[in-house]
């Protein structure tokens, strides 16, 4: 009996004592990576979705409830990307610290002007997001905005380290500002070019670097490519001399390869999330890779 009690108390203290660092949960790996930039080693970070999986469909695992229950800060997109799995988790987690409106809740889309807001919300148009396209973190200027929002939240929740978070934000901002010059220079020759993508995840990236990523292998968002649609896409790509098809880790690469082989375009592996493709362990390195890969394909 004594042993059991001892074990139980050990488990309980284990679960209660992990409060030395700020417990941060990010729904998606891009927010997680920005949280790491700001929080450094002062936070314990849990990222719910995997970098390689479809962020629209993540299982609402019970273990996520435990992470959310212990969270001091939750960073989510706030633009319905996680609509299919986050609400039941929050309902089960019952954590007042991360309710909307509390300093412990960062909704990344807050203060971001979302693109492609549908005027008429109908599911006949496929998987449309009523609030606008939610794949916004790939614009470095937007990433800065999110990072600042995260820094504000961390400072509010953990005032003792506010200076640390602020300094990290400043550092991140300076890095992005410097990097933008390089990225802009690399993309400058391809300004105005058309690029194809499997899914419409890239309007913010296109806007930032002056591209037109406007031909999609999916006939409608979330609807698998049909042969007749692909025939149209191939015709369109030939007419516009499109040289690159962007695919993400969870897309069916074979379909993109097939289209590539009949158009002479290159398949370019992209990811919205740091870690989704090799050597992209931070946000800056992700954009580095995306920019250089696309530039190589467009040359």
């Amino acid at each position: 009996m004594k042993k059991i009690l001892l074990l139980l108390s050990a488990i309980l203290t284990c679960s209660f004592s992990a409060h030395a660092k700020l417990n941060v949960v990010a729904t998606l790996p891009d927010f997680g990576s920005l949280a790491r930039e700001i929080g450094g080693d002062k936070i314990d970070l849990v990222v719910l979705a995997k970098a390689t999986e479809d962020p629209h469909f993540v299982d609402a695992r019970p273990s996520f409830v435990v992470s959310l229950r212990n969270a001091d800060v939750l960073i989510d997109g706030g633009a319905e990307l996680e609509l299919g799995w986050l609400p039941p988790l929050l309902q089960n987690a019952r954590n007042p610290k991360i309710e909307i409106g509390k300093p412990g809740r960062v909704q990344a889309s807050q203060g971001i002007r979302l693109m492609n807001i549908p005027t008429n919300v109908t599911r006949a148009a496929g998987d449309v997001h009523a609030l606008g396209n939610p794949h916004f973190t790939v614009d470095p200027i937007i990433a800065k905005a999110i990072a600042q929002h995260i820094a504000q939240s961390f400072s509010a929740v953990d005032a003792a380290n506010a200076g640390f978070y602020d300094a990290n934000y400043k550092k991140f901002e300076a890095t992005i500002n410097a990097k933008l010059q390089g990225w802009g220079a690399i993309m400058l020759p391809f300004q105005g070019q058309h690029v194809a993508a499997y899914h419409d995840s890239w309007p913010y990236f296109a806007h930032r670097f002056g591209l037109n990523i406007d031909v999609f292998l999916e006939p409608k968002p979330g609807i698998p490519p049909s042969p007749s649609h692909l025939t149209d896409v191939i015709g369109q790509m030939k007419a516009q001399k499109i040289k690159a098809i962007i695919v993400e880790p969870y897309h069916d690469r074979r379909i993109a390869e097939k289209v590539a082989s009949s158009t002479g375009a290159k398949v370019v592996d992209f990811s919205q999330f740091p870690g989704g493709i090799p050597v992209t362990d931070s946000y800056v390195r992700l954009i580095d890779v995306l920019v250089s890969r696309l530039a190589d394909a467009l040359k």
């Binding site: 479809d54 273990s63 019952r94 919300v121 200027i141 969870y250």
Partner: protein, 540 residues
């Protein structure tokens, strides 16, 4: 180009005005003295602010004109080249250099404005300074000045702020779900072969689950949920059932939650879920025969507690009236006042022993980033109507394993294995007025096990085995007390998560006993479903 010069000329005075008039305040009176001179400067600043605002407006309109002109030019140039529709937006690379936004230069000179507007939210693009001549590092067009535009559907939204669904603003989510089936069976009495109330009941077309679901935040303390089901019987008459209608707390301390109203008992995996989420067309035998054709549900109250452990562990405890057909093995007067061949007593509750008490404990761990296991044990204890003091106990154990690819698209591919086991001890008394010759105690058990394989986006193949062992009795010939087993296989196509089409094959074996002859039945079902509206996300 002319326009550009015009814009620059317009910006210049703005900057000049703000520099001239604000600079003295900033230079002559550093932070501490500002507070002393507040009444005077506040008015000044207000006047200045208005002035700057009006000038900013002018600049904006001019900018817009430039943008339009540029777009028109670009369009004209490009369409003449390729004849294809173009992105009407000017390229930020080309445009940004020419249009330093007023927001980037003016606000930093107004420290008061920064603290009142920005501190609580984000206006990050404003804080940076554009690198001269290089790639722009700020872009006010991507951020809004009013971050409040994004709200959410989550619980805890305040009373005055409607929750947002589908871009509209509502206080409630509404959805409509239609689930239909076309059935063929070698048995004429399909309603005796299928044990669930939402299963196909006749050869031909069936509409057994057309439901309206409502949910939303009631206030900062509660959320509400209701599920109203319409069923068409075999004569096409409509039955209405209030399947669930309950409120639950959202903000109790210590990870506690209370729930009260009409709700499904948290017994096992399948019982608390709605038919449209099931992986098969019909109810497993053990669920239909032990917990009842409509599942174990009723009016009652429930409390749940998430244990403060490093893994997911939850204790749930509920109490329900357990009366009628939705308390099937409990205070159920049965069809025509008979249950297991006894004339039922159908009495009012005498005390706590006549309620159904339903405890559950569930645990879940992640075996790996792609594998999850969830296991639970449940119980349901109460009295039944076959005798003055006859009791029923049901024990359940359930297990779920799920693997999902780390490169899943739309949630596919996956493999899901789910098993439930139940044991029922049923004291069958001598009926009302001791009219039945004997009292007996039945020890019945049953289980089902199913594997679902989502092999391709939108496609799921499933196989399920069912078995129920009913203790033999020389005294009853109730059809519900026949031991039986079943094997099912199906294939489902989900065009999206809002529709599905399913084909299922069932082979049923009903074992011979003292009164009933054994038989084999083959059935084929085609099921289809649509969902309208914002149907709540499903739990794991």
């Amino acid at each position: 180009m002319k326009k550009f010069i015009l814009v620059t000329l317009a910006i210049f005075p703005v900057a000049a005005v703000s520099a001239q008039e604000v600079a003295p305040v900033l230079t002559s009176s550093p932070a501490p003295t500002v507070s002393n001179a507040t009444p005077a400067t506040a008015a000044d600043v207000e006047a200045l602010r208005q002035q700057v605002q009006s000038l900013t407006e002018t600049v904006k309109t001019l900018q817009q004109q430039v943008k339009d002109q540029q777009a028109a030019l670009e369009k004209a140039n490009l369409t003449s080249e390729s004849g294809l529709p173009q992105n009407p937006e000017p390229s930020p690379i080309a445009g940004a250099e020419n249009s330093p936004t007023p927001g980037a230069s003016a606000p930093p000179r107004f420290p008061t404005e920064d603290t009142s507007v920005v501190s609580s939210t984000t206006a990050p693009a404003v804080s940076g300074t554009p690198a001269p001549g290089g790639f722009p590092t700020t872009d006010t067009s991507v951020v809004t000045s009013a971050p409040e535009t994004i709200s959410s559907t989550g619980p805890g939204a305040s009373l005055t702020q409607p929750i947002t669904i589908g871009g509209g603003r509502n206080y409630m989510n509404i959805s409509f779900d239609g689930l239909f089936g076309l059935a063929y069976s070698s048995a004429k009495d399909l309603d005796n072969i299928e044990v669930g109330d939402h299963d196909p009941q006749q050869r031909g077309f069936n509409a057994r689950n057309i439901e309206l679901a409502f949910d939303g935040a009631v206030d900062p303390y509660f959320e509400g949920f209701a599920n109203i089901v319409f069923k068409l019987d075999n004569d096409n008459q409509t039955d209405v059932e209030v399947e669930e209608a309950f409120m639950q707390t959202t903000s109790l301390p210590f990870n506690l939650q209370l729930k009260a109203g009409q709700f499904f008992a948290a017994f096992g995996r399948l019982n608390p879920t709605h038919p449209h989420t099931w992986d098969f067309v019909d109810t497993p035998l053990v669920n239909g025969l032990f917990l009842g054709p409509d599942g174990l549900r009723g009016v009652g109250a429930q409390t749940s507690w998430t244990l403060p452990l490093p893994w997911y562990s939850q204790l749930i405890f509920a109490s329900q009236n357990g009366r009628g057909s939705t308390g099937f093995s409990f205070r159920n007067p049965g069809d025509d006042g008979m249950f297991f061949d006894r004339i039922t007593t159908d009495r009012e509750a005498r005390g706590l022993q006549d309620f159904v008490w339903i405890p559950r404990w569930e645990n879940s761990v992640d075996l790996s980033p792609t594998q999850v296991v969830l296991a639970g044990v449940s119980g349901a204890f109460g009295s039944n109507e076959t005798g003055a003091n006859s009791r029923t106990q049901i024990y359940g154990a359930d297990f779920l394993y799920k693997w999902k690819s780390s490169h899943a698209e739309g949630g596919f591919p996956f493999v899901k294995w789910q098993t439930e086991f139940m044991y029922r001890r049923f004291q069958a008394g001598r009926g009302a007025d001791e009219s039945f010759p004997v009292a007996e105690t039945f020890h019945d058990w049953g289980m089902y096990s199913q594997v679902l394989w989502g092999f391709k986006k939108g496609w799921v193949a499933g196989i399920r085995g069912d078995y129920v062992d009913m203790q033999d009795s020389k005294f009853t010939d109730d059809l519900d007390r026949q031991s039986r087993w079943r094997i099912s296989a199906n294939l489902t196509w989900y065009p999206t998560e809002f529709s599905k089409i399913r084909l299922q094959y069932n082979q049923d074996f009903l074992e011979e006993n003292f009164f009933l002859s054994g038989r084999q039945v083959e059935s084929v079902f085609l099921q289809w479903e649509f969902i309208l509206g914002s149907h709540g996300a499903h739990k794991f």
